[in-house]
Amino acid sequence: MRYGTNASACAAVVRRDLLLTWRRRGDALNPALFAIIVVVLFPLALGPEPNQLARISAGIVFVAILLAGLLALDTLFRGDHEDGSLEQLVLSPHPLPLLLGSKIAVHWLTTGLPLILVAPILAEMLHLPRSTLPALLAALALATPLLSLFGAVCVALTVGMRRSGMLLALLVLPLYVPVLIFAAGACNAAQSGLPFLAPLLWLGAALALALVLAPMACAAALRISIS
């Protein structure tokens, strides 16, 4: 008889979700592709004038990545709910917040990280000054996990619904407002040569808090919506 530890349970979740992403690796590119398409629309709508684009480039990059992350949220629990493996996860003797935390981590690795990797391309397309790039990447590194964590709580609330896209946006966007403000604020400050550490530190503090609280809230929300 071997019951396994919390760590081995989390490892099993991580291994399985990574394997699933690998088996459908074509789909994994979709969020990054979506972000690129959104960014392409802005010069087409605003005109190709580099200075004008550069001025608003950081904001556009963040909004594009936020929207891409929002679309990717749907896959977090949908498949697991449809085939019944979400139930099995809830029934596991290991703490549900820990298992969900692992799921969210993999989700960030497979959707958030590609978005960060594609961000320099987006920045270049919009003529963001090179000197701002480190601030942009740092803000993204802190903001995208936050988006995944906050989003997971809201997705957990809508897990049983067939069409939840618009509703999910309505639930998630108010939670994203502070993240967007601080992340884009840091970049704008860096771009105009102002100190940008403070908003990044706020984001870091929020991330530390959310890493602990969001999986628990996610578990509580999930228990409500599968009942």
């Binding site: 008889m1 071997r2 019951y3 396994g4 081995s8 349970a9 490892a11 099993a12 979740v13 291994r15 399985r16 394997l19 699933l20 088996r23 459908r24 498949g79 449809e82 085939d83 019944g84 493996s85 139930e87 099995q88 996860l89 809830v90 029934l91 596991s92 003797p93 290991h94 298992l99 599968i226 009942s227």
Partner: protein
Amino acid sequence: MSHDPQRLPMSITLARLSRPDWGVSARAGGFCKLMTGGESNDPMPLLEASGLSYSRNDEPVFGPLDFRLHAGEVLLIEGDNGSGKTTLLRVLSGLLAPGGGSIRLNGEDLTMARLSHQVALLGHQPGLKADLTPLENLDFAIGVFGLRGGITPHLALASVGLEGYEEVPVRQLSAGQKKRVSLARLLLVPAALWLLDEPYANLDREGIDLVNRLLDAQARRGGAALVTSHGAYVFTTGSPRRLPLRATA
């Protein structure tokens, strides 16, 4: 999760596999009750439900139910569609909070007992990832639930008749074969209590025999099981004492 507004009777059949000569008596009043008759020093039951009920939007779905399940017993819950069988299993597994009454596993409160690897649920959905192979699915189950001694994923798949399908993606299996993979998962995880929701569905005659053999083995090694069925399949293991009881009228 919509339920037929008109509730239909649900019956519970108790099959004692290891000790078929045990007496079973029933008392049906406002609720149905199963208890062992003439047993003076009753061992602690594996599962004990008292006054257990569940309501959805103030419409009672089942109960109140009282029953006990000892190690080595298989309890067959028979009822028509909408009689609350699935809901009962979901409550017993801890997925749903009971509306009233209590559930005790090995004398412990349900939530605590669940933390000690007592319950395995086989629901309507097989709980398998279509993109993974049976082996990968079972590895995940072992990671999350643990592993019973003396068995490996390969052995479990062989004993449900899926030898040679270890590396085939689950999406290419038939509904019955998927069910068999879920049954293999039951064999692997170290749960003392199985909650099987319609395990006979999608299975051929051979598969039905397989379920009965697995239930028999589970009872013999000191486990127990609750099995729901809408009555279309015959529960054939041994010569079980059947006790059809009506739930609340």
